[in-house]
Amino acid sequence: MNGQELIESYVHEVGQRLPRKIRSDIELELRSLLADGLEDRMDDETAVIDFLKELGSPAQFAAQYLPHQYLIGPNLFPTFKLVATVVFSVITVMTAVTLGIVLVTTGQPDNIFGWWGQEMAEYVGSLMSALGAVTFVFVFLERVGVNAPNSDENWDPNSLRPVEDPNRIKRGEMVASIVGAFVSIWFVQSLPNWIGTEGGGLFTAGYLMHTPWLIASWIFEIGLKSAVVGNGRWTRTTRLLEIARQSFDIYVLYRIVTGVVLISVPFLDSVVKGGLGIAMIVIFIDTLVKLFKFFVVPKEHPVQARSKVA
């Protein structure tokens, strides 16, 4: 290509990256500016190449004419995030409830890995299409210029919320869950004494075999949460231990719900296991949330941590 062709090609490439509305005007001006710029230089191909290099690539040059482009701008982004989180939570809870019901009613599937794989693929597919639809709606709102109620123009500093320390504990809640663990241990241990076990009562050997694991978990919970209350806040280590404890609970409950006869009366057995299935789902969701926070909440800067101690 000779110099003139190079210029035409550059102008065209820049123009292709600009909105149609301003394209021809900028192309005309750019052509004129390039001609002016090259007037002082030797009118050969090398001079044109050097000059175009100075201008930068067509994409870079065109980008300077455009405002910052984003699919969802800073005004709508917080609302988008909120809606996406709600959609994510609803789909996750619905999937977990459905899976819980299926497990309780049909028992453990024959091919457990294949079954989980298929269910998870469906879950991810539902998430993708729902979040995709939400994104599409917000991109559309951005394009038509809808602003969130809390946009820059009518922003009120009074709407600012205090920053919460995610690691600070609510003592009341913690003490309540420690008391709850004590009560659960007492209840689970005392129940067979009141009603009786296999041979003379309602509860089977399966009940006696699995409850010690739950009791062990509750004892661990009492120790762990007492330590957290003493410390006044969660740490990375205590959070991780709590996640591990809950995962263990989920495993034990899963085993009970899918493969153990707890009570010799089938109807009562289904009712109790239904309750345990719901508890398992609640713990499962809570564990997912805790895992998410564990990885997403940034680690505290050592200087900040020191200043809190001091």
Partner: protein
């Protein structure tokens, strides 16, 4: 071409940020009479301010769309059309405020950068 060290590119970034901050004021200051893109670039160059075409030309368009400049096309030598830019009334007002800000900034920065006896020359 030798690759720039992190220190050099950091310095360049900061230096560019300072220059970017004064560009609007510099451009407005030179447009009391009509100028086309290249002549403005030359004019700034003669006064010691280097500015890349890729920065200057879009900046002119942006200032025009914001109402600080007005422009008109003129055909030179019956062949080449050129767009001439000139500061608008609104641009004049903003320019006056910016000059005031600039002078205040110079005072503040001079105060801040005044060497204390214990400071070493870098």
């Amino acid at each position: 071409m030798a690759k720039k060290s992190t220190k050099e590119s950091l310095y360049e970034n900061f230096s560019q940020e300072i220059r970017r901050g004064v560009l609007v004021l510099a451009v407005l200051s030179q447009l009391s009479e009509p100028q086309y893109g290249y002549s403005l670039k030359q004019r700034l160059h003669e006064k010691g301010l280097e500015i890349n075409e890729g920065t200057l030309y879009p900046l002119l368009r942006r200032l025009e769309s914001q109402g600080l400049l007005q422009s008109s096309w003129e055909v030179v030598n019956d062949t080449r059309p050129r767009r001439y830019y000139q500061i608008s009334d609104q641009g004049q007002t903003i320019h006056s405020h910016l000059i005031q800000d600039w002078e205040n900034m110079i005072d503040v920065m001079s105060e801040l950068l005044a060497k204390e006896p214990h400071q070493k020359d870098l």
